[in-house]
């Protein structure tokens, strides 16, 4: 199992490095969106609830771009069949794809969060950083799991890009709630308070429940 996940992940990252289809687009989209927000809100700096909202909406929509492209190469170039013919555990694909998406999200945030701190955020980012990383990681896990499932569902349908976003966004509302509420005190104008524990627990619960469900149902999406 571990060997299979490693092989799949290696292939996944190799293709991404070769084509650069997902990560640069996601990152650029995030930075551009911050600029758009500046003009749309007509504000030079934001803090608190507002800042948390802008950050999470942007990250979410940028993540959608990555989700849309996640299985496209496999679908178009016959990668599913090759995998299905191999004597391996099929859940390995779920794990590998989710890890890949997680990697893309982390790279996205490495670009987007400093950009956000530079362009729009009023208070300093450094005070929020350690707690913010925890929140981002918890939320990323949820986005990775749901994103992989939804991508697998949508890729073999006819309106794949549209359907992917339509399915994922409502499912990710709890992540947005948890993420934004947990981030908001971190980006407070006067000082950074620590996030209420209940939001971290919500995110954790979400990750756990959907992680388990994903593991249970993923096989059914692959077979014919």
């Amino acid at each position: 199992m571990r060997r299979t996940v490693a092989a799949l992940l290696r292939k996944e990252l190799l293709v991404e490095l070769r084509t650069l289809e997902s990560v640069p687009g996601m990152s650029l989209f995030a930075v551009t969106t911050f600029v758009v927000f500046h003009f749309a809100l007509n504000q030079n700096s934001v803090s608190g609830d507002e800042a948390a909202g802008i950050l999470w909406v942007t990250l979410l929509f940028a993540a959608m771009l990555g989700v849309n492209r996640l299985f496209v190469a496999d679908q178009d170039q016959g990668g599913f069949d090759a995998f299905l013919l191999a004597p391996v555990d099929r859940s390995a694909m779920l794990l590998a794809k989710a890890l890949a998406l997680l990697a893309y999200l982390i790279v996205l945030e490495l670009v987007a969060v400093p950009a956000f701190g530079l362009l729009l955020l009023g208070p300093s980012l450094s005070q929020a950083l350690p707690d913010l990383l925890v929140v981002l990681l918890l939320a990323d896990l949820g986005i990775a799991v749901i994103g992989t499932l939804v991508a697998a569902l949508a890729v073999r349908t006819r309106a794949r890009d549209l359907l992917g976003a339509l399915l994922a966004l409502p499912l990710l509302v709890p992540v947005v709630i948890g993420g934004a509420r947990a981030t908001s005190p971190l980006l407070g104008l006067t000082h950074a308070a620590s996030p209420p524990i209940r939001w971290l627990l919500t995110l954790g619960l979400y990750d756990l429940v959907f992680g388990l469900i994903a593991y249970a149902v993923f096989d059914f999406l692959l077979e014919d």
């Binding site: 499932l149 569902l153 073999r156 349908t157 006819r158 309106a159 359907l163 339509l166 399915l167 966004l169 409502p170 499912l171 509302v173 709890p174 709630i177 948890g178 509420r181 209940r198 939001w199 919500t202 619960l205 979400y206 429940v209 959907f210 469900i213 149902v217 059914f220 999406l221 014919d224």
Partner: protein, 256 residues
Amino acid sequence: MYGRGLRTLSITTVAVMAIALGLVFFYAPLEAEQGFLQKIFYVHVPLAIVALCGFVAGGLMAIQHLRTRDPRWDMRSYVAIHMSLIFAVATLITGSIWAKGSWGHWWVWSEPTLVSFLIVFLLYATYQPLRFAIEDPERQGRYASVFAILAGAFVPLNFLAVRLSTEYLHPRVLGSSSNLPAKMQLTFLVSLLGIALLYLTLCKYELTAKHTRAQLRALRRRLAGESVEGAAPRGRSAAPHLALSPSASASTPRSA
């Protein structure tokens, strides 16, 4: 097979709903604060409860479908979700009317049940487009079941998250159904029963109709000599279909 008991069920439903209506208008006392408008509570809350149970039931049926691969479970899951979606829209509409009457706005973010329903509605509204976008009927059923399971698990999580995040500006009514006076409780329970029966009856109607149509198609195919050319192609559809073999129609008893 499906049509059996439909008439009894329908009559029972109409009877219970009539009793419920009577209770709502003539038996339940007027609520002090909100007056007559409060009576929408007897429709809105049962609709919400039944819709939610329907969504979760759809998810459970989907699990059965994946486990047994019997397309009838897919059909049941589809109808349950389909019907719950309609009831969910009704929940949103009655909730909106109530909000306008009580608090002056057509929409309020402070009522977590309503907000959760909006999100759940947006999610399940993609169920049929998802089905329609998959042409292979077997895969369509399978993917729809995966979605139904995902969405079914989502419903309670969503409610939790929204409930946690909502500031309570207004008194919660769903939670307060436990300390209602006895007359209101009775009215509420009868209304709940009526709406639940309505849901079951409508589902049964839809299942019967679809099953009958499938039998008809199977008979036509058999008359045409079971050849591919004889059967009219079905075309793309979001609804699951039952590929009944001609022999299945022979074993079905005549229904009333």
